[in-house]
Amino acid sequence: MSPRLVRSEDDATGRRPDTPLEIRVDGDAMAGVQGQTIAGVLLAGGLQAWREGPSGAPRGVFCGIGVCFDCLVTVNGERDVRACRRRAHDGDVVTTQSRAQEAR
């Protein structure tokens, strides 16, 4: 039901078998594949939303190309990283952000 990664064996582009990677998202391990963006790992990992707007509204990927700034996450301590533009690396520590919780 959620977004999914095309399996390498079904992939018409003939991509090589996936090299797995693992990131942590708010402390929990999440599996991904070398080459994915952080957004790709999150989406394929079952999260369609990982950020909250000022009223708590859920946000995930919207534009996918780095112009909407919906998909922001904190990566290895750096806040406001566009997940759709940042390549995931094994061991990345990702924490989610919430405008609602951050407000006074």
Binding site: G77, R79, D80
Partner: protein, 387 residues
């Protein structure tokens, strides 16, 4: 005579708005003119300072104290004051060098003698007040009376108050020349026709010099460029207006090249505003990345923990600047009927309240609450160097 005095206020920025409100409430028939929209220029490009902390003893400090007292009273009487975002957050001035500390300490002492609350802070107090500020400081002074507003919100709210008291507003209306009769100004010719009045007030901010020339009574008000950086929305990080002790020096300097000094504060929206820069580049509004870089560097000296915070926006504006660093408030000696309210050089938002009160009193022929003499139009810096 029982006729109502007609007043034209040229400029719908913070000064024009404040004056329009006071004069409308005092029974004048007020029309506000602006070639753009309300609060469109300098007013919406500043940080919204309402400070006493950055002024040493003298007439500007008196004007600042008067204004600071009047602001909350004015807001009390205004509906929809929410958009003003009045925040009596207080200011903290930090010196990072021994020399700066010495100057700051002496300065604060002189300000206390002039009636300003200026409380030295030790390391514990500073860290409690501003957990993210640098630990590497030489002196810090807390000014509980400093406040901040959303400047465009403040101006439009004052303007709404003026309109409610009977004033009218004409936007898209550029003043071209004076209409005179028998040596008095009796109106202005504009791009939208001629307006007649008994009193014309020049509240055109950095364009006051140009406007005054068009009216035949030049004044030496010039633009001084400033830029502001805006960060992405953050959790509460900065709790007061925090600035570097060398800010005061930067204001008082006439240097042509870049004068930059760190000013850091949060907004209600969670963004952090970072200033400040001063350049005399005429009306060149090109934003210079290297100026932004200097602002960032100075801000990080005060708040090293902000190094990872993204900057998402930058904007700039022009402060109206008089060579002797005092505003010009009062009647023009050369052209009866013409008045000026301008030259507030980065302090216009705060000083607008007192300026409007003084102007109102002078127009009503009442003694203003503070001595308005130092702001008179008839002084060398205002008239002497005018081209």
């Amino acid at each position: 005579m029982l006729s109502v005095t007609r007043v034209l206020v040229c400029g719908a920025g913070i000064i024009g708005a404040a004056c329009a409100r006071e004069l409308a409430l005092a029974g004048f028939a007020v029309t506000v003119l602006d070639r753009g929209g309300p609060a469109a220029a300098t007013t919406s490009h500043g940080e919204g300072n309402v400070l006493v902390s950055d002024k040493g003893p003298g007439p500007e400090l008196e004007l600042a104290k008067l204004s600071r007292r009047l602001w909350p009273e004015i807001l009390d009487g205004l509906p929809n004051a929410g958009t003003v975002e009045w925040d009596a957050k207080g200011g903290i001035v930090v010196a990072t060098t021994a020399a700066g500390a010495e100057t700051l300490t002496a300065f604060a002492e002189s300000q206390r003698e002039a009636g300003v609350a200026a409380e030295p802070m030790d390391a514990t107090e500073l860290a409690a007040a501003e957990p993210n500020v640098t630990k590497d400081f030489a002196a810090a002074v807390h000014y509980p009376e400093d406040a901040q507003v959303q400047p465009a919100g403040a101006a439009t709210t004052l303007l709404a108050g003026a309109l409610r008291a009977g004033a009218t507003l004409r936007t898209g209306c550029e003043v071209l020349a004076a209409v005179t009769e028998g040596g008095r100004i009796t109106g202005v010719r504009t791009s939208a026709g001629t307006f007649h009045a008994d009193v014309v007030i020049n509240a055109a901010g950095p364009w006051s010099g140009d406007l005054a020339s068009r009216l035949g009574a030049p004044v030496d008000v010039r633009p001084r460029r400033g830029e502001v950086l805006v960060t992405t929305p953050m959790p509460p990080t900065v709790f007061h207006k925090v600035y570097d002790a060398d800010y005061v020096g930067a204001v008082g300097s006439g240097a042509e090249d870049l004068q930059a000094s760190a000013v850091v504060e949060s907004t209600r929206a969670g963004t952090i505003l970072l200033g400040s820069s001063r350049r005399r580049v005429g009306f060149d509004d090109r934003i210079r990345p290297e100026v932004l870089s200097v602002i960032a560097g100075k801000a990080l000296k005060l708040f090293p923990m902000l190094a990872g915070v993204p900057v998402m926006r930058a904007y700039g504006g022009f402060r109206p600047y008089v060579p002797d660093h005092l505003p010009v408030i009062g009647p023009d000696p050369r052209l009866p009927g013409l008045w000026h309210a301008s030259g507030h050089e980065g302090a216009g938002i705060g000083l607008s309240a007192g300026t409007a009160a003084i102007l109102r009193d002078l127009l009503l022929d009442k003694p203003p609450e503070i001595d308005a003499g130092p702001f008179r139009v008839d002084r060398p810096a205002v008239l002497g160097e005018a081209s």
